[in-house]
């Protein structure tokens, strides 16, 4: 498969949808590629109730001329203006672009504690996604823990599906949460939403300055030990959703050579990165939530389509909203005590079964990786990289292709793309991939 676009958008979450719809409205030929079968991303994932905003944007997307490549995962950027993507059935595609908008989203940050790899202990968002996907949760006892606004949203959602929320444990202390809430006074919608979540989970314990120190169980989690200050106690449960805020997916921007600053992609007012013609929107530029992500998508979509004036108008609105991003970053700052959660025997890298004890004594991520295989498995360090960054202060350095595991043959198919075979599809040809989307 081969196709070219004026503007290619990677990631069909809120930011990507807004970018694609905005760019297409300017009359450009726009492609939207995403590894999920449906648009919406992690946050607007279908199944269960979809927020009004999401319905509106997805309807706009469906009414637009945007060419949708759902189920394609971008794994490489072999040269300027070209991405390679792979579909679930192993088909490899070459996507050419004049301008690129990266809306690669974020993933949950996991921090290892004894028992975190037990079955039924998972990310808060991951548990939420399972329930949306149909896993029955009614009557199950659930502990939601970690940090960030996602915890309340997940707890409220699970409760609506009949879960018994035993406790919601937020690692941030109450004082910081109060400060966060006060900074939201200018954003009544966000305050209202937070209040609604709290009301939805009334009856469940909402604990601040509290976290899980260990999960216990034989074949699956049966209880967790919680700590709040000097108090420790055990709570019986069937599921644990545990996420410590979000980590931006910056692998593709980094592979493309975009400048990264303190873990986030640097962008200008028009959301353009340090690489001309490559834009970045949503969480990779700073964890700011759906509203900001959509706004950034609207800016980048217009800017990439050459509508600088319109983009500038939205850019002013964006600057007004960056306060929330900073407030969120502050409230989610991890308590240094969380570094002492894993014991010598705790697995840090699940893929390669590397335990904390074997990481001691290494000075850098690279040294640790080479000597212990930490981060060398199929997840390519996406889980243990952010964890060790917090635990040891290591920075994950280079990004190499493929940024997701891909078939050996897909890596090899680069030869067609690189012109070693003459009979590749002509530029601008439009194969029937649109039929393959939903």
């Amino acid at each position: 498969m081969k196709d070219s676009f004026d503007i290619l958008v990677v990631g069909a979450g809120p930011a990507g949808i807004a970018a694609a719809v905005s760019a297409a409205a300017c009359g450009k030929r726009v492609g939207l590629v995403d590894d999920n079968p449906a648009a919406g991303g992690q946050i607007w994932r279908s199944g269960g109730e979809v927020p009004d905003d999401a319905q509106r944007w997805i309807a706009m997307l469906e009414a637009s001329s945007v060419a949708r490549l759902q189920g394609w995962r971008v794994f490489d950027a072999p040269r300027s203006g070209v991405l390679h993507a792979e579909r679930g059935d192993g088909e490899c595609g070459e996507l050419c672009y004049k301008n690129l908008i990266l809306a690669t989203g974020a993933r949950e940050r996991f921090l290892p504690f004894p028992g975190w790899t037990l079955p039924n202990v998972m990310g808060a968002g991951g548990l939420d996604a399972l329930v949306r996907g149909g896993v029955p949760i009614a009557g199950k006892r659930v502990v939601v823990a970690g940090t960030g606004p996602l915890l309340l949203a997940v707890a409220a959602h699970l409760k609506r599906h009949g879960a018994r929320i035993v406790a919601v444990c937020e690692q941030a202390p109450l004082s910081r949460l109060v400060r966060f809430a006060s900074r939201l006074l200018g954003e009544p919608a966000k305050l209202r939403q937070g209040a609604e979540y709290r009301i939805a989970i009334r009856g469940a314990r909402y604990l601040t300055g509290c976290w899980i120190v260990a999960a216990h169980g034989r074949d699956r989690v049966e209880s967790v030990r919680l700590r709040q200050g000097s108090k420790q106690w055990d709570v019986a449960c069937d599921f644990v959703g545990c996420g410590f805020h979000l980590v931006p997916n910056i692998e593709l921007p980094a592979l493309l050579g975009c400048r990264i600053d303190h873990g986030f992609v640097s962008v200008d007012d028009s959301m353009q990165t340090s690489v001309p013609g490559v834009y970045c929107v949503g969480e990779p530029t700073g964890i700011g939530g759906v509203e900001l992500a959509v706004l950034e998508g609207e800016i980048a979509g217009r800017a990439a389509a050459g509508r600088a004036d319109e983009a500038r108008k939205h850019a002013q609105r964006r600057r007004g909203k960056l306060g929330f991003l900073r407030a969120l970053q502050e409230v989610c700052t991890l308590d240094p005590q969380l570094r002492s959660l894993p014991t010598a025997d705790t697995r840090i890298c699940r893929c390669e079964d590397v335990r904390l004890v074997s990481l001691d004594g290494h000075n850098t991520w690279r040294d640790a990786k080479l000597q212990t295989r930490c981060g060398m498995g199929p997840c390519q360090g996406r889980v243990c990289g952010p964890a060790t960054e917090f635990l040891f202060g290591w920075r994950v350095e280079s990004v190499r292709p493929p940024i997701f595991p891909a078939l050996v043959s897909s890596l090899g198919s680069a030869c067609e793309a690189d012109g070693l075979q003459q009979n590749s599809a002509p530029q601008g040809a439009s194969p029937a991939f649109e039929k393959e989307t939903l």
């Binding site: 000075n363 080479l370 190499r400 078939l407 050996v408």
Partner: protein, 392 residues
């Protein structure tokens, strides 16, 4: 501030750490310096194939000597070194290449290396996932694979146990006349300085006849048992690669984890570590040609590394004529992992003025001093581009 010792080894790759261990156990006060931890450079990029090669009599002598040294060390190696004597299969695709198999067998026998000729059926039985038909193969059962970073860390630990010191996170600014200056302003003084910096050894000695030769490797997810031996094509006889500077060869290695390492490529004039997608694609095409099933495996990572290539494909081991304090242990191209142990023996015996177990002359750096400058000679003629084991 300065301190002194008997030997400073610059470079904690597999060659540098092997040399440091040999120095230390011979009673020399030794300091190893490297910018990063043990085995973080070309060592980490390499495949870890312990292989006997016969491009030249000197190469055969050094590789067979070193392969034996590895076997002798095998019992001491820790589990994480993943040493496994899986053997090499030199795969012949037709009768012409079977002729090469028999020639190779004779040459190896002359060096005391036992081999076995496998006919087509025996090869298919030994490696059922190889394409059919193939003509046969030469099995070198005493060749092995290991995991280079952990093996190097082991060599460094042994060196330190024997009294050596390791200064990591220190970049060497200059090394001459018995003085090694570090980037933190300190100086190490030693009557002997060993440059074991691989492709980067020219940074300290620009006149060295060493060029970077870039290589690519890919690694798959775990597919235990898919391949049992290190597989290398013997196709260089009529291969088109030998005439061009950029080339690929089929070279696949089974790791203890069940993962497969896919190589190899060779490229001059590439200075940046980025992946060359056209070359990578050719390399994979070659691998798929021999192992059709490999295309359906998941590839997890691709990386590159730089071999230190000399004009005659032999390393530089011994004193450097321009400076009495300088010794070289570099220029191993794709055979640094294999020949690290042999290099250490040759180097330290040369230092101590002792007789070596194999003739040391072919590797002495001054072989390039006689015909003017070996260095800076851009027209390097490689006489036979073999499908030699590519460790990068």
């Amino acid at each position: 501030m300065s301190s002194s010792c008997d030997v400073v080894v610059i470079g904690a790759g597999i060659v540098g750490t092997a040399c440091a261990w040999e120095c230390a156990r011979r009673g020399l006060q030794t300091v190893v310096v490297d910018e990063c931890g043990a085995g973080g450079g070309a060592t980490a990029a390499g495949m870890g194939h312990i292989v006997v090669m016969d491009d030249s009599p000197a190469q055969l002598a050094l590789t067979s000597y070193s392969q034996r040294l590895w076997r002798e060390l095998a019992a001491e190696l820790p589990a994480e070194a993943e040493f496994e004597m899986c053997g090499t299969l030199w795969v012949a695709s037709d009768e012409e290449e079977m002729g090469e198999v028999r020639r190779k067998q004779g040459v190896y026998a002359s060096a005391g290396v036992r081999t076995e000729v496998l006919a087509a059926n025996a090869l298919a039985e030994a490696e059922p996932h190889l394409r059919r038909p193939l003509a046969g193969a030469l099995l070198v059962p005493t060749d092995a694979v290991l995991y280079p970073p952990s093996s190097t860390a082991f060599l460094l630990r042994q060196a330190m146990r024997a009294g050596a010191r390791f200064q990591s996170a220190r970049k060497v600014i200059s090394a001459e006349q018995g003085r090694v200056r570090l980037d933190d302003g300190t100086e190490l003084r030693a009557p002997r300085i060993v440059n074991a910096c691989g492709a980067e050894s020219v940074e300290l000695l620009p006149e060295l006849p060493i060029r970077k030769r870039k290589g690519h490797l890919a690694i798959t997810d775990r597919y235990p048992g898919f391949v049992r031996h290190q597989l290398v094509e013997l196709g260089y006889l009529k291969s088109a690669h030998s005439v061009s500077t950029d080339s690929v060869a089929f070279n696949v290695q089974p790791r203890q984890t069940g993962q497969l390492l896919i190589g190899s490529s060779r490229e001059y004039g590439a200075e940046t570590p980025g992946v060359n997608h056209a070359l990578l694609a050719k390399m994979i095409e070659r691998a798929q040609d021999y192992l059709p099933g490999i295309g359906k495996m998941q590839a997890i990572r691709v990386w590159t590394g730089f071999r230190a290539a000399t004009p005659d494909k032999l390393p530089l081991i011994g004193p450097w004529a321009g400076d009495d304090s300088l010794f070289l242990a570099t220029g191993h191209e794709g055979l640094g992992i294999t020949t690290s142990l042999g290099t250490a023996k040759l180097l330290v015996r040369a230092m101590l003025g002792e007789k070596t177990e194999i003739p040391a002359d072919p590797y002495l750096p001054d072989r390039f001093a006689h015909n003017g400058h070996g260095a800076g000679n851009d027209e390097v003629h490689v006489h036979s581009h073999s499908a030699e084991s590519s460790h990068v």
